[in-house]
């Protein structure tokens, strides 16, 4: 297996995290601080933002300029989309999804959250828990991000007061309990001065917990923490039928990525939807034969028996079957400027499988500010609702809370080919 890494002795892989908050919370400054203190910012970039800082009449370098956006955004004075940024500590590589915080960008936050292992929610220490804090917390919980960090920022503006921090923590825990959020870390912080981001600083001696970076370095990815069933949606079938090479004559490789769980040579498998059974003959990654494979690995599976399998089918372990269904209940986030039309048919994409779908009903719409349930006849952009859907083809599902891969789907409008909705199966 080609997992050796010659340039670092320790490799804790890769962690994707999301930062939520508005510009006012110091989100850009926090990201700038992380990039700067982990030396991800190179001299020419720094020179460029020094120039801009001066041009805008600022004395110190404004680290938030590191996340300054596109011309199209500056023209409108807003952040319009998720930006991805990268840094590494030598032991772990990080991908930051930087999502704009305003209410009208719920869809961007859901997009950024969908691939995150951890979320950092920023609170301005002077303002405490706000409506948007509740909204961000609800969304990270909805999208089932495994780890949640609440960064109480701008502690420098409240004299690094422990009382202020404790009050915010108590307020937060009160409403988090109502949402069912259990695992939260709180960090007092001054991103501006760099306290408790990468360095501890010398103003927060009363806080004994980890810095933000220490938390990031030790957070597990979701696949490690939960027992998972093996799920292998088939992406592509390799049948070389090379007449010059008789060995390849009968070769049928089922290509895909292990979405969850693990598989070993000899394991008994079931193919969906056919229900046919076989055993794993080989697990290939180019020239290597792997004794076993686990979540997030892209591999090719060879089976003992000749079974007709195509893209959209799913290979699972016999005895670990998902639910095969043509009716799903889901939380649906509507992403399109064109409202959901209950009379129309849409296309659902779930793993590698497509199916036509129709709305069977809207149970309720979430008021994501007050966190209450409302009745609704239609859904517009940024709405989140509990819906039920009827499908033309069966899909093979697990509840989203158990499996983010087999519990998620997107909705496509075939008249425009746009992605118009994102669903999480209940």
């Amino acid at each position: 297996m080609t997992t050796t890494n010659t340039t670092a002795t320790i490799d804790h892989g890769l962690l994707r995290f999301l930062t939520c908050g508005s510009v006012d919370d110091g989100k850009s400054t926090l990201i700038g601080r992380l990039l700067y203190d982990t030396k991800a910012i190179l001299a020419d970039t720094l020179t460029a933002i020094e120039k801009t800082s001066k041009k805008r009449g600022m004395e110190a370098v404004d680290l938030s300029l590191l996340t300054d956006g596109l011309q199209a955004e500056r023209e409108q004075g807003i952040t319009i989309d998720v930006a991805y940024r990268y840094f590494t500590t030598g032991t772990r590589k990080y991908i930051i999804a930087d999502a704009p915080g305003h209410e009208q960008y719920t869809r961007n936050m859901v997009t950024a959250a969908s691939t995150a292992d951890l979320a950092v929610i920023l609170i301005d220490a002077r303002k405490g828990v706000l409506t948007q804090t509740r909204r961000h917390s609800y969304l990270t919980h909805l999208v089932n991000i495994p780890h949640l960090v609440v960064a109480v920022n701008k502690m420098d503006l409240v004299d690094y007061s422990k009382d202020v921090f404790d009050k915010i923590m108590a307020d937060y825990l009160e409403f988090a309990a109502k949402l069912g959020i259990e695992d939260v870390h709180f960090i007092p912080m001054s991103a501006l001065n760099g306290d408790m981001v990468v360095e501890r600083g010398d103003q927060l001696d009363w806080y004994q917990g980890p810095t933000l970076l220490e938390l990031l370095e030790t957070a597990n990815t979701s696949h490690i923490e939960h027992a998972e069933d093996f799920r292998f949606p088939v992406q592509y079938v390799c049948r070389p039928q090379d007449s010059a090479n008789p060995e390849l004559h009968d070769y049928r490789g089922f290509m895909g990525r292990v979405e969850s769980g693990r598989i070993a040579i000899g394991d008994a498998i079931t193919v969906l939807p056919s229900g046919l059974e076989s055993r794993v003959k080989d697990i290939r990654l180019l020239d290597d034969s792997l004794p076993e494979a686990f979540a997030e690995q892209s591999i090719t599976l060879l089976l003992e028996d000749e079974i007709d399998i195509s893209r959209g089918d799913m290979i699972v372990k016999s005895g670990e079957l998902p639910t095969v269904t043509k009716h799903i209940d889901a939380m649906l986030c509507w992403l399109s400027e064109t409202p959901l039309d209950p009379r129309r048919k849409y296309l659902i994409r779930h793993t590698t499988r497509d199916s036509k779908a129709m709305l069977a009903g809207i149970d309720f719409r979430m008021d994501i500010n007050a966190l209450g349930k409302q009745t609704a006849e239609k859904l517009v952009m940024n709405d989140i609702a509990k819906v039920s859907l009827k499908l033309a083809q069966p899909i093979f599902v697990d509840p989203y809370a158990q499996n983010r891969s087999t519990g998620a789907f997107i909705v496509i409008d075939e008249s425009t080919n746009n992605t118009v909705g994102a669903g999480m199966i209940l």
């Binding site: 890494n5 190179l42 696949h223 992406q235 997030e296 892209s298 590698t352 992605t419």
Partner: protein
């Protein structure tokens, strides 16, 4: 019966696996894709990923290079050699053909042809009816790319609209398009320059020789290093010096500059990359420095 996964992929394995998954989605969803291969280091990694994604089968797409006619011979020779070794079909379309057709008109004979690649690319897409182009662009290169989707929709004119991108959630990619439209797909979006060099080392990938330190005639122009070539001769008042340099990125001769370096092995390049103080494009791309928004602008006009 369930089991807990204890292993974690190393960051390179994770990035590789993500890229393989993306390429297989293109193969599964698109009817006529193409992989853009320039002979540069990023697209060399792309070919390795394609091997891991599709062997022992053939690639489900041809390779294509949009040649400005101003590329280093070491790179175009390497391009041809690599395609032949893999036994895959290579299509080359040149900006010069577009100039002959009259669809590319240079403002002056010495204007860089780099941005005009967009025209030739769109013409080639139309000629072959490609519905998807796989490219080796990375989000760490530039801030317009930092916001671009992995599956990036382009309209009939090849235009990218940053304000109207398709939402991209989980690993559920939407490559659907109508005839004449096109999806650009960037499987190594999440890689950094450092990841690319580490991958080249790990996979022992061969590179065109000019990525390694070598001596070549250079003039210093506007503080940057300008190689002296037939396309980019020295000006009368400039002093030509023999310098030890290497290229961090290769592309059109008129807009790619080398850096001073004695790194003649992959290990030395990685050590240098780990301690460099200049970004890849900052050091080497003369075309991105013309204005703050030049990449964003070029993408709106159909660039990769």
């Amino acid at each position: 019966m369930t089991t807990t996964t204890k292993q974690t992929l190393s960051h390179l394995d994770w990035l590789e696996s993500e890229a393989i998954h993306i390429m297989r989605e293109v193969a599964g969803q698109c009817s006529n894709p193409v992989l853009l291969f320039s002979g540069g280091k990023d697209s060399i990694c792309m070919l390795r990923i394609a091997e891991k994604a599709f062997r022992p089968g053939k690639f489900p797409f041809p390779l294509m290079h949009i040649d400005t006619g101003h590329n280093y011979k070491e790179v175009t020779d390497f391009r041809d050699k690599r395609a032949a070794e893999l036994g895959e079909r290579l299509i080359v379309r040149s900006v010069e053909e577009s100039m002959k057709r009259g669809t590319v008109v240079l403002k002056s004979p010495d204007e860089s042809r780099n941005k005009h690649q967009s025209v030739t690319l769109l013409e080639a897409i139309e000629e072959f009816g490609f519905d998807a182009c796989l490219g080796g662009a990375r989000r760490d290169e530039e801030k317009a790319r930092a916001k671009e989707r992995i599956f990036s929709f382009r309209d009939e004119f090849g235009q990218w609209d940053p304000k109207n991108q398709r939402p991209e959630l989980w690993d559920l990619y939407n490559a659907r398009s109508f005839k004449g439209e096109n999806i650009r797909v960037f499987p190594i979006s999440n890689w950094t320059e450092f990841d690319v060099w580490q991958y080249i080392e790990r996979e022992k990938l061969e590179l065109p020789s000019i990525y390694y330190a070598h001596t070549r005639p250079i003039v210093v122009r506007n503080g940057g290093l300008q190689p002296v070539t037939d396309v980019t001769p020295a000006r009368p008042d400039e002093k030509i010096e023999e310098m030890l340099v290497r290229f961090r990125t290769v592309g059109d001769i008129t807009c790619t500059a080398p850096v001073l370096s004695d790194a003649d092995t992959i290990e030395k390049i990685i050590a240098e990359t780990a301690t460099t103080t200049i970004t890849e494009r900052g050091a080497t791309r003369l075309d991105d420095q013309t204005s703050e928004a030049s990449m964003e602008q070029r993408k709106k006009e159909g660039y990769f």
